[in-house]
């Protein structure tokens, strides 16, 4: 998983496999951070205090 494990090799298989993995993890964490960050800002801005409680 990391270059310091002994079975690591700098080859195509590792680039593709772990590249895909870090890419997916990257997108998910970026998306999540965005949501949480924006929710914090929104809350500070006073949004969401009075709502119908229904959004789809």
């Amino acid at each position: 998983m990391f270059p310091f494990s002994f079975e690591w090799a700098w080859d195509m298989a590792h680039y593709v496999f772990l590249g895909g993995m870090w890419y997916a993890i990257g997108i998910i964490s970026a998306g999540l951070s965005y949501c949480i960050g924006k929710a914090l800002l929104d809350t500070v801005a006073g949004k969401g205090h009075d709502h119908g409680g229904d959004h789809h």
């Binding site: 998983m1 298989a13 593709v16 496999f17 949501c35």
Partner: protein, 414 residues
């Protein structure tokens, strides 16, 4: 008692009634937990597995729940990426089912390995050529996606929604859900596929081995396809069961019909591919290894004979495909129910043979078919996720707005 937590404008059974139901299922759950602890503390000698049957009931259960849970990613793909907007009325439930299925799969895997505490080696010391490594990576990352898809629904609980931060978070997550859904679909394609690859790469096992396309055997593509095809059937089946238990209509017919139709065509196209695959395997791949088709279906114990392939391909494949692709037939309630039940059985048989028949078939010419009987501990730990699923689904239904159309379909007086 818990009325403050219930969604607005819907009717739920009384709290004591609900608790009794949960307690009954909880007893089953405890039985499973006991068996799980036995396996963890005493080791896998608690199972019916042996050196010829290293993969058995649990791996099947894993493959089966993941195939059935495929409804979550495929419905998500249809709703968020392809834009079938009606499906928003069933997507929540599909996500809940997916979440249950995948958490169950991870739990079963954690019981199944001989040294659970070393499970992290699969990540740390990953062998990128292994299909199982691909499964483990995509499965765990996709599980986090499912959790993310579940969170907004959770936050829509009446009490939680009153907290401004949670309300905003749910709102924002809804807005970018397409990104998560797309990532989920990407990951799902790979782990569903690599679960198929697990069997297909075994070139020492002629029953499982399939020719390759790029680095993946055919089973890779067949598994992804079948999960997308059959998963929605499971979503429909559970919706119908929930409607039966709650004695309410929860999803409008046009939504179910759309999902059933797509599923039907997916199953039909999958069956074409699967039949070609089976034919090629039986006439080219297997004979090149000195084996005839009938040798794979001549189990002296009677389990792996022709009936199983007929059950998988005809009863669990062609038949549901015919019903679901036909407008009049699928409009008929009993026919629809029959079709989704058969489809779920069909995909489960497929996963079964791709794990257990592979092990049962003797490859060395001087060996006999291997037999396997699961121990009660294995059965209990396989039922454990079912009990857990029932409890989680009941909680979700009771406290969360899982079915957006429920209020409209079941107006509460006053």
């Amino acid at each position: 008692m818990d009325s403050a937590l219930l969604p607005k404008g819907v009717k739920r059974c009384s709290f004591p009634q609900f608790s009794i139901g949960i307690l009954i299922v909880g007893a089953v759950l405890l039985w499973g937990v006991y068996a799980m602890l036995l396996c963890w503390f005493k080791g896998l000698n608690q199972t019916g597995m042996n050196d010829s049957y290293g993969f058995a009931l649990w791996i099947w259960a894993d493959l089966a729940v993941i195939a059935l849970g495929g409804g979550a990613f495929f419905t998500g793909l249809l709703k968020y990426i392809i834009g079938k907007d009606e499906l928003k009325n069933i997507i929540n439930f599909a996500v809940v089912i997916g979440f249950i299925c995948y958490s169950s799969a991870l739990l079963i895997l954690a019981i199944d390995v001989g040294q659970p505490l070393r499970s992290w080696f699969i990540f740390w010391h990953v062998n990128v050529h292994s299909m199982l490594a691909e499964v483990a990576f995509c499965l765990s990352i996709y599980f986090s996606v499912l959790a993310i898809e579940f969170v907004p629904l959770l936050l829509e609980n009446r009490k939680l929604d009153e907290v401004p931060f949670f309300h905003n978070l749910a709102h924002n997550m809804h807005e970018v859900m397409a990104v998560f859904a797309a990532t989920g679909a990407f990951l799902s394609c790979f782990h569903q596929g690599s679960l198929g690859g697990v069997a297909g790469v075994l070139f020492g096992r002629p029953f499982a081995f399939r020719e390759h396309l790029l680095v993946w055997p055919w089973t890779f593509f067949l598994f992804t396809w079948s999960a997308a095809a059959y998963g929605p059937c499971f979503t429909i089946l559970l919706t119908k069961i929930t409607e039966g238990i709650t004695r309410k209509k929860l999803v409008k017919d046009n939504v179910v019909d759309l999902l059933a139709k797509i599923s039907g065509w997916m199953i039909a196209s999958y069956m074409v591919a699967k039949l070609i695959d089976t034919w090629y395997w039986a006439t080219v791949t297997a004979p090149s290894r000195g084996l005839t088709f009938m040798q794979f279906y001549s189990d002296g114990n009677g389990l792996y004979t022709l009936w199983i392939i007929v059950a998988e391909l005809v009863v669990g494949g062609i038949l549901p495909a015919l019903i679901l692709t036909n407008k009049t037939l699928r409009a008929n309630k009993s026919m629809l129910l029959l079709a989704v039940i058969l489809a779920c059985i069909g995909v489960c048989i497929n996963r079964w043979v791709m794990v257990l028949q592979v092990m049962a078939h003797p490859v060395l010419p001087f060996e006999e078919w291997f037999a396997y009987m699961p121990s009660w501990q294995e059965v209990a730990t396989t039922i454990l996720p079912v009990a857990y699923g029932v409890i989680l689904a009941s909680l979700a239904y009771r406290y969360l707005p899982v079915f957006p159309q429920e209020r409209e379909l079941n107006p509460v007086n006053g």
